[in-house]
Structures are given as C-alpha cells and as structure tokens.
Amino acid sequence: MSRNILVSALILGLFGFIGATLVAVTEFGTHDRILENERQALLQQLYEIVPRERVDNDMLAHPLTVSAQEALGQESSLVYVGEKDGQLSAMVFQSTVPDGYSGPIRLLVGVDRNGVLLGTRVIAHKETPGLGDKIEKEKSDWILGFKGKSLTDPKLDRWKVKKDGGDFDQFTGATVTPRAVVNGIRRVLLYFDKQKDALYKEYLEKAKTNP
C-alpha cells in the first residue's frame, strides 16, 4: 500500500519535473526574442507618433519613470524623450485614463518641444465594441484628429467634447469614452507644460550617468 503511494508520488513528481522543464526550456529559448519583439513593437508605436526624422537618439535607451498619479493616471508612468542635435525635440508619455466606460484606457501621447501634439494612440482599452472602440486607429480616424492641437489650439476651456461645450467630437451613442480620452490628453499637455524642463534635465543626467 505505502509502496503504491510512493510510486504514484514519484510519477506525479516526474511529470511535474518534465512540465517545469518544458516551460523552462521554452522560456529560455524565447526570452530574448520576446523582449526584442516587444521592443520593436514599442519602437514602431513611438515612431508612428514621432516622425523618424524628428529624433536622432534612441528613444528607448533612457526612459524616465515619473510619479504623477493626477496627470498620468498611474503611480509610475514611463516617459520617452526624443532629441535632435542635442536638443529636446519630443516627449512621449504613457498615460492611463481611469474613467473609461468599462475600465482604464491606456494611451501614448506624443508632444513636441513647444507642447504641440505630435499624435496620440490607444494602446489598450476595454470599451464597447462598435461604440467606444472607435478610439482605436484601426476602427476610425478620430484619434488622428489630435495631431497639431495644443493648449492654445483650442483654448484650454474648449478642451472638452462638444456635449460638454468643447471642440472635440464625440461618437453617436458613446460620450463617456471620448470624454475620458480628451480629458486625459488635456491632463498630459498641462503636465508637460509645467514639467518639461525638469523632465528634460532628469533625462540629461540619466543619459550622462549611463550612456
């Protein structure tokens, strides 16, 4: 009897070992490739917002980790800095908008040196298919309309959806989602306006200490 239990336990242990080995070997064989894929995917997203000719540094080399719960929606968010000829040329913010219709919406918001929007993309969301998901570039052109906008165009008190008395379109049947995105982008712009010098200084120090 106890012999049977022992054999069963050994078999179970053996399969546990084989399973763990399989996963470990696969992990080992794919780890670098997955990291590289993710890096490429992120680069592609960044370059979709910031035109390649605008930067001459590796934007992924020294990402800043900033803590700005109010403005960027998360305890720590990443900021990518783009330089051209040794000067600040672009910043791309990871922003999480907490008040989407069904959960948070994650955005990338790119701004040039003067606070003009280079572009915005939705990275992840759970909005209603067919209604709120028009914030995706794949589904509609709405998100492209932010390019070229800034805190002076339109004026700050017009940075709302039309339903709230602002300048930005909402979608038929969905107001909550566009409202959340517009407000989220406005918060990023305000944050950039206040913090850009401090952020760029932090970037320069970081780049100097570990080139």
Binding site: S8, G19, T26, T30, Q40, A41, T128, P129, G130, E138
Partner: protein, 229 residues
C-alpha cells in the same frame, strides 16, 4: 469498446459537440465570440492545444496510475498552454498580440481535460489525436458561427480585423452593411447567451426533424411488410 474513426469525426463535429452538447468551455466561448475573427482565433488555438494534450495523454496512458492521472493531465495541459503561448509570442508576435489574452483562457476550458480523461486516456494515439482535432474543430466552428452572427447583428460587419490574423492582404475581406447601425445587445454579454441558446435550439431542431424523418421511413417499410404477410 472501441470507437471507429467515423464515429470520432461525427462525435466531435456534431453529436457530442463540446460547445453545443457538452456545454463545456463556456467562459472563453462567450467572452471571445464578439467577432468572427476573434472566434476563429481562439477556436484554432484551442484545437492546437487539444491535439497536443490528447496525443500526450494517450502516449502516457499506460504509465500513469489512475489515482494521480488528473493532476498529471492538468500538468501536461498547463505546460503545453504555457509553451504554446511563449512560442507564439516569440515567433508570431503580431498574431500573439491579437490572441494573447485568449491563450491563458484555454487552460480554463474544461473541454480539454474532459477529452483527456474521457477519451485520450483510454484510446490509441492516432484515435486520440483525431478526437482532439475533431473536438477542437467542432468547438472552433461554433465559436466562429457565434462570432460571425454577433458581429453581423451587432455592428453590421463581417471579418473586421482579419488583417490582424491573416496579414495585410486580408484588410479587404471586411464586409460592411451600408447604413446599418447595429444592435448593441448582440455585442454585449447577454447577446452571447442569446446567440448560443439559439444555436443550440437550431441544432436540436435539426436533430429532431432528422429523427422524425427516419421514423416515418421505418414506419412505411413496416406497413409494407405487414401487407406482404
């Protein structure tokens, strides 16, 4: 008791369809059937895991003692799903980005451990592999049909997002009904339940009318024999 290959195919695709008859794997089924492409994606990934796990379970069926078979099956399935997920992330990154969230859900699909326990652990490797393939295709076709129906009724399109799975050339596959706003209910979770219920009703109706026809035919031959005697 041995099942013929023909029976395995019939069982998987129709008679014992995991989604319509066994009602297994409802969580991933209902969650990912909002478009035809999503449904097809999860269906194919599930099929792959089913074939792999059925084959492995059948290979080790004489080695594993009955009292520890279930934990061993769970280990096998979980390892395979993780390995498939990692490999897809590494070599089919674009496809992974679409299906990525569905793949861990495959572990929660009771159909897979169900087939391992009910079929693969008692049958030879070729039969177990075929059973996995057919059960998977049966499940995938229900997912695809449900996804296509919900997408069509809910947002008036078909195959939207196909390029995410089949590459750029599939961008033109999307069919759109002009001037149709869509019924939101179909896309929301209740739409999934109503849709699945309707599919089950249709299947039962087909089975019933088939049976009735068969009965009538036998009745006719019976009368014929009676007259002859």
């Amino acid at each position: 008791m041995s099942t013929s290959y023909r029976e395995i195919v019939n069982n998987g695709l129709w008679t014992n369809n995991q989604a319509l008859v066994a009602l297994l794997g409802l969580c991933p089924l209902l969650a990912t059937s909002n478009t035809a492409v999503n449904g097809l994606g999860l269906g194919l990934a599930t099929t792959l895991v089913l074939v792999l796990s059925n084959t492995t379970v059948s290979l080790i069926r004489n080695l594993v003692r009955p009292e520890v078979r279930l934990p061993v099956f769970v280990l096998v399935i979980a390892s395979f799903v993780t390995a498939v997920e990692l490999s897809m992330n590494a070599w089919f990154h674009d496809l992974y980005k679409i299906l990525g969230i569905f793949i861990p859900l495959i572990v929660t699909n009771c159909a897979i451990i169900g087939r391992a326990e009910a079929f693969a652990s008692k049958n030879t490797v070729p039969k177990a592999a075929l059973d996995g393939l057919m059960m998977g295709l049966g499940f995938a076709s229900v997912l695809f049909t449900l996804g296509a129906t919900r997408e069509l009724i809910g947002q008036g399109t078909l195959f939207s997002g196909a390029h995410l799975m089949f590459g750029e050339m599939a961008r033109s596959w999307t069919i759109e009904i002009a001037n149709y706003k869509g019924v939101l209910l179909a896309i929301l979770p209740p739409g999934a339940f109503i849709g699945l219920g309707s599919l089950i009703a249709v299947k039962n109706w087909i089975d019933k009318s088939r049976k009735e026809r068969a009965r009538k035919e036998t009745a006719v031959t019976d009368e014929g024999e009676m007259a002859a005697t």
